[in-house]
């Protein structure tokens, strides 16, 4: 059985900033806009975490909005 497509994600590299991650995940987009989009798709990191936006090595960071 093949796997159905699911929402794409990346995991942070060691010491990677959100800006670096956004550049890696959304190449070609202006960084500020890419960061903004990443934030909106990952409220578990940027709204619900204390401190907000702390990137953890184990994080799943979505690089697209929900698909459904």
């Amino acid at each position: 059985m093949s796997l159905s497509p699911q929402r794409r994600f990346v995991t942070p590299e060691p010491d990677e900033s959100i800006e670096q991650l956004a550049e890696r995940a959304l190449p070609g987009e202006p960084v500020a806009a890419a960061v903004d989009r990443i934030k909106s798709w990952n409220l578990h990191i940027f709204a619900m975490r204390r401190p907000p936006g702390l990137l953890l090595g184990g994080d799943v960071v979505f690089v697209e909005p929900p698909r459904r």
Binding site: Q6, F9, T11, P14, H44, L56, G57, G58, V60
Partner: protein, 553 residues
């Protein structure tokens, strides 16, 4: 042959899922000696007429790590027919742990268990640092079987110290963690637990959450050497995140040949496609050969609150929110103001809060009078000649706002939906959290609730299916080779229960934790006798002195 115990005239439901059959069960030297019509003499004969004789239940997700140090029966779990428990979940165990790191890890435990500090300072002698030492410390007094996981967070803490909550591990540190995990598995750990959700006493993510996937992969490789379990807590509040974790677990399972499990998995009216999507992904991954077992609890989720803190329970009532957001002294003053109170009562509607608040249950364990505990606010309000909303305010004010109210069955509560999910062949019934959340809700009696709600009331599972789900299936998933079934030669973990009455009792507050610490419990209903490794550990509503429990290495 003289048997040690002979259980006669029961309906044997042996864990296989096959139809129960009338038979006697004989026990000798801690093992099941014979099943059938048995006339042989026995030192102890138990009449099980009208009762089910089943393998002891296995609870695969608990936090009894601390309690086991002074209570080898993990009360009240054993009285519910649970003969084996898995502590050490959610990345946290009490070993390996250096003495200097104890305060930090105790804080993490307290976040999950809500156990009073005295439990860690007065109830036992903390003599160990390594996993073998912890095992020895609990083994002295076990009435229940224990299959302990080792926590990723404490392994990380041991190797990295404070850096465990700051950065990625170096290759050398990962290698040291692998060695340490290997040592723990050799000393009796049945797997590794990790968490992507939990926080410590200061609200910081626990160490396991700082690990790169490569670290988890390296640790899973060690699990593969032993064929042992990886347990995780995913971001269960979000389906896409849960599916991402399922995919990671599947990758590890396939790469290293290990079973994996994640918990909890909840169903709710506000996220109705969560479980269907989760199970669909699990099915896809199993079809590829991965073992990724979703753990689901049987009990519904309740909402609990007091007026000591703002609760979203009131989020539809603007005037209440305005008052509850105030600092405590101003809040009490506002609630005491007649005009404000009148407005609050008026804002709940013409029924005075009967629909929204009438069914709230006053909980024990706080400043409320014991006589009110367990009663509905509607009943109390009627006696006082008040509306439920008014009674909620006045009752709270009379006790410094320290009165807890419970809104029962507000999530994971659709029996029709949950029953079908629990019956799904890939759903692993568990996630009780036994021994955790002590001051928030009772984590005991989920097995009784399985039978009362989903076998007797809803008919979603047969008696035999339900028994299999929490015995043989669990043993197979975890690799407990001589547990979970009634068959000659296997360990004599046995529960005798009344299939017509087995259930969980009402939630009640007790003060039996060290330092008179409070917790909520539920008593067992319909469980007659529990044997652990052939010894009667619970009978007639009382625990015995038997200490036949073992570490299931």
């Amino acid at each position: 042959m003289m048997f040690d115990v002979l259980i006669r005239n029961g309906l044997v439901v042996d864990g296989s899922g096959e139809a129960g059959f009338a038979a006697d069960v004989a026990v000798k030297d801690g093992r099941i000696a014979q099943i059938g019509r048995i006339d042989g003499p026995a030192r102890q004969v138990i009449d099980a007429a009208g009762r089910v004789v089943a393998p002891g239940f296995i609870d695969p997700h608990t936090h009894f790590d601390v309690q086991l140090l002074w209570d080898g029966a993990a009360r009240p779990a054993l009285s519910h027919g649970v003969t084996s428990i898995v502590p050490g979940n959610c990345s946290l165990s009490l070993a390996p742990l250096r003495a200097a790191d104890r305060p930090a890890v105790v804080g993490m435990f307290q976040q999950i268990e809500e156990m009073p500090p005295e439990a860690f300072t007065t109830a036992f002698d903390w003599t160990w640092e390594d996993f073998a030492g912890y095992r020895a410390a609990i083994e002295r007094n076990l009435a229940i079987n224990v299959a302990p996981l080792v926590g990723h967070s404490v392994i990380r803490q041991w190797v990295m110290g404070e850096a465990a909550q700051a950065r990625a591990a170096t290759p050398g540190e990962i290698a040291a963690m692998q060695d340490l995990l290997r040592e723990c598995l050799q000393a009796g750990a049945v797997g590794l637990s990790t968490s992507f959700v939990d926080v410590d006493a200061r609200g910081r993510p626990v160490p396991s959450r700082f690990a790169q996937f490569a670290e988890l992969d390296a640790l899973a490789a060690v699990l593969g050497e032993f064929g042992r379990m990886l347990q995780i807590v995913p971001e269960f509040y979000d389906t896409d995140l849960t599916i991402a974790r399922i995919d990671q677990l599947a990758e590890l399972s396939l790469r290293h040949g290990v079973p994996t499990t994640f918990s909890p998995v909840f169903d709710s009216a506000s996220t109705p496609d969560n479980v269907p999507r989760t199970l669909a992904r699990v099915e896809e991954q199993f079809a590829r050969g991965a073992r990724v077992w979703p753990q689901m609890q049987t009990r519904p989720i309740d909402i609990s609150f007091s007026l000591l803190r703002p609760s979203l329970f009131f989020a539809r009532l603007p005037s209440w929110i305005r008052v509850l957001r105030k600092p405590l002294d101003e809040r009490i003053a506002a609630l005491s103001d007649a005009e404000t109170a009148d407005r609050l009562v008026a804002d709940v509607g013409p029924d005075g809060g009967a629909r929204m608040m009438g069914e709230l249950i006053v909980r024990g364990g706080d400043a409320a009078p014991t006589a009110l505990a367990g009663r509905t606010l509607g009943e109390i309000a009627a006696e006082r000649g008040e509306s439920p909303a008014r009674a909620l305010i006045t009752l709270s004010l009379e006790h410094g706002l320290d009165v807890a109210f419970l809104a029962a069955n507000r999530g994971h509560d659709d029996t029709g939906r949950i029953g079908a999910m629990l019956a799904h062949p890939l759903v692993h019934i568990g996630a009780s959290d036994g021994g955790a959340h002590l001051a928030s809700f009772a984590t005991y009696g989920d097995t009784g609730y399985l039978f009362s709600e989903f076998v007797r009331k809803a008919g979603a599972l047969s008696l035999e299916q339900a028994v299999r789900k929490i015995t043989a299936d669990t043993a197979d998933i975890w690799g407990f080779k001589d547990r979970g079934r009634l068959a000659p030669g296997l360990a004599a973990d046995i529960v005798v229960f009344d299939p017509e009455t087995i259930a969980r009792g009402e939630e009640r507050a007790v003060f039996d934790m060290p330092g008179d610490g409070m917790r909520y419990v539920r008593d067992a209903i319909g469980v007659d006798t529990v044997l652990v490794n052939g010894a009667v550990a619970y009978a007639g509503g009382a625990y015995t002195d038997a200490r036949a429990g073992a570490v299931l290495a």
